[in-house]
């Protein structure tokens, strides 16, 4: 049980770009419910996420991956332990400060995209800008620029349902990045996509991560995308069991254009 945390110091930090630490978790615990029905989702998690790295979180279903990124993203309160994100501790923030912090610094990518169906994709992408108080025209301009960067510059006035799954996920990525957050959390970003599309989405994420000095935490079941990780953290039963170096650098170095194949 406690042995899991001893794995952390063994992490080869050389595999990461070795910059400052964006997220630092120590002995983080989270239990859902109380009494007989209580589920200990996090049993003492230690993990660091470095600035500019892509950390993948893998493990069997129910091991606590989603719970952990929820805590890191500040949408779920931890029960115990320490956790600082970009130097701030959610536990010391009031709820509205936490909301503002998320709006400024965190980007989200979901398995189900969660795009608002009646908004055009440009409007969808402009939402984080609006949340942060940008005027509508500025927000729309930023959204269109971002969509151009993810290769959807021609589709800005389409509604999400007219796009393919991969395109929708690219819209979601544009939305997650448009306000230039410093931390991106992605829960199973490729599991609703076919293999080739999933690869392309990961390439895109990799690319923007290196371009924007962004820390990415990607939860996934999909072994085929492990190659995009700088480091891979394996979770089981509420613990981090092992952290290994990924081959993300090579992929990044090869350039995103090289491709889909493994």
């Amino acid at each position: 049980m406690t042995s899991a945390s001893t794995n952390v110091p063994a992490v080869p930090t050389a595999a990461s770009p070795g910059r400052e630490i964006a997220v630092r978790c120590r002995a983080v615990t989270k239990t859902y419910g109380t009494g007989n029905s209580a589920v200990k989702a996090l049993r003492g998690v230690d993990i660091d996420v470095h600035s500019g790295e892509l950390l993948m979180l893998v493990g069997p279903s129910g091991c606590g991956k989603t719970t952990l990124i929820s805590v890191i993203a500040g949408v779920l309160d931890r029960d115990g332990g320490e956790c600082t994100v970009l130097g701030e501790d959610y536990a010391r923030m009031r709820s509205d400060a936490k909301t503002t912090f998320r709006g400024r610094n965190v980007g989200f990518v979901f398995q189900a995209f969660n795009l608002i169906p009646t908004l055009t994709i440009a409007e969808n992408v402009s939402v984080p800008m609006l949340i942060n108080g940008s005027p509508r025209t500025a927000a729309m301009k930023a959204a269109k620029d971002m969509l151009a960067q993810v290769g959807l510059g021609e589709r800005v006035n389409d509604i999400p349902s007219r796009l393919s799954g991969g395109q929708q996920q690219r819209v979601a990525i544009a939305r997650a990045l448009v306000h230039q957050p410093r931390l991106l959390v992605c829960d199973e970003p490729t599991s609703a996509l076919d293999h080739v599309t999933g690869q392309k989405v990961m390439e895109l994420l990799r690319q923007v991560a290196s371009a924007h000095e962004l820390s990415l935490v990607v939860v996934t079941h999909d072994q085929r995308i492990f190659e995009f990780a700088d480091r891979i953290a394996e979770m089981d039963d509420g613990h981090i069991m092992r952290i290994t170096a990924g081959s993300g650098h090579k992929v990044a170095a090869h350039g995103a254009a090289t491709g889909a194949g493994r």
């Binding site: 989603t66 929820s70 949408v75 909301t99 989200f108 908004l119 409007e123 949340i131 829960d187």
Partner: protein
């Protein structure tokens, strides 16, 4: 974010239509039933409206409404004329008399006897003839609706339409002859008896012999006289009841409100409209919010404050309120308009529209409240749940 809130309403068009329909139903039923109620109630004082000019009505203190006739001593007229501030006072006879038609049938009619000298309180408009024609021997004026319905003669051929009473026809009132000299256009009244105008002196001859025949005294106040104050002065110095025209109308309406089941019936219809509208709207709006919880959660996770979400939901509620209200009163107005040629009472007043609007706002706020509670308690962490 506001535009976004409005566009989100269209996420599910069917549900949006349902919400709007709920609001529309409520505002339509409330204004439509309300308008019929107000229409019916304003018919109760049709006779006061039709009497036109007089500022003040004086009557026996026990009188409760316009058709409640409790005649006063003939001397009352002079006593009222003696009250300072009274510029002019005329007698008015009002009573229900049995009229014998020339086919031998009887019909109860509202007989109004106008001051012989001035013909004060006469019909508001004439279809045929002139009010002054009442000065001719045995003259009566009959209202147009009465003339063509209850007072009409039997069809000349079997199965044909009845023949309306017309100028020159005669009738018998309490064994005395009446000759129709004119047809008047009256406001439809609550009781559907025909109205027959004649002079005060002739009316007292038509009426069964009674000691007292003076039903009302119609008073015009002197220039610049305060009507309320004059009413008080009249009742103090004569012991009679004196009301301004509006007070008497109101008293009449209140009599019907308090002594008939009409308000209860309409009240139930209106409440039902309100409750059903509220249920539909509340249910649909809440279910709409539930459907959108994933998006609202996403917005919350992405940093939208509770205050902004609250504003968005309120805006959504207000927008369905406005659209539903507009459609509802539009439908009610259309209904009223399409019924305008019929005997149906329908009177849409701004007060009614205001009440319906308030009801709709209440409905939408109740609906929004449920949703707001849900969204405030929403954990943004749900966004990661499948």
């Amino acid at each position: 974010m506001n535009l976004l809130a409005l566009k989100m309403l269209l996420n599910d068009r069917a549900k949006y239509a349902g919400i709007v329909l709920g609001v529309m139903l409520a505002s339509m039923v409330i204004t439509q039933q309300g308008s019929i109620f107000v229409g019916l109630m304003s018919r109760t004082f049709a006779a006061i409206t039709d009497a036109g000019g007089p500022d003040i009505w004086v009557m026996d203190p026990k009188v409760q409404f316009i058709d409640d006739t409790k005649p006063m001593q003939a001397t009352a007229l002079n006593r009222v004329r003696g009250v300072p501030g009274v510029a002019f006072a005329a007698p008015l006879y009002k009573g229900l008399l049995r009229v014998r038609l020339d086919n031998g049938e009887f019909q109860n009619c509202n007989v109004i006897g106008l001051d012989d000298a001035t013909l004060t309180g006469g019909p508001p408009a004439m279809l045929e003839g002139k009010v002054e024609d009442l000065r001719r021997a045995d003259a009566v004026i009959v209202d147009a609706v009465g003339a063509s319905t209850r007072l009409a003669r039997k069809p000349t051929t079997p199965g044909g339409s009845p023949v309306p009473l017309k100028v020159g026809d005669t009738m018998e009132l309490n064994d005395r002859r009446g000759v129709v000299v004119g047809i008047s256009l009256n406001t439809r009244s609550f009781q559907s008896q025909p109205t027959i105008y004649t002079t005060f002196s002739r009316a007292t001859q038509f009426a069964p012999r009674e000691r007292k025949q003076l039903t009302f005294i119609l008073v015009n106040a002197a220039e610049g006289e305060d009507h309320d104050a004059l009413c008080e002065r009249i009742s103090e110095s004569t012991g009679l009841a004196a009301y301004t025209r509006d007070q008497f109308k109101w008293k009449t309406v209140m009599h019907f409100v308090n002594n008939t089941g009409i308000p209860i019936n309409f009240g139930m219809a209106v409440s039902l409209g309100f409750v059903i509208g509220a249920l539909i709207t509340g249910f649909m709006f809440f279910s709409f919010t539930l459907d959108n919880l994933r998006f609202l959660g996403t917005l919350k996770a992405m940093g939208t404050s509770d205050r902004t979400l609250l504003r968005m939901i309120l805006l959504q509620a207000v927008s369905v309120a406005v659209v539903g209200y507009g459609l509802g009163i539009g439908a009610a107005a259309w209904f009223g308009h399409s019924m305008s040629g019929t005997p149906l009472a329908f009177r849409m007043t701004w007060q009614l529209l205001f009440v319906a609007f308030c009801a709709v706002v209440v409905i939408c706020m109740l609906a929004a409240m449920l949703s707001i509670r849900k969204v405030m308690k929403l954990e943004p962490a749900i966004v990661f749940k499948g």
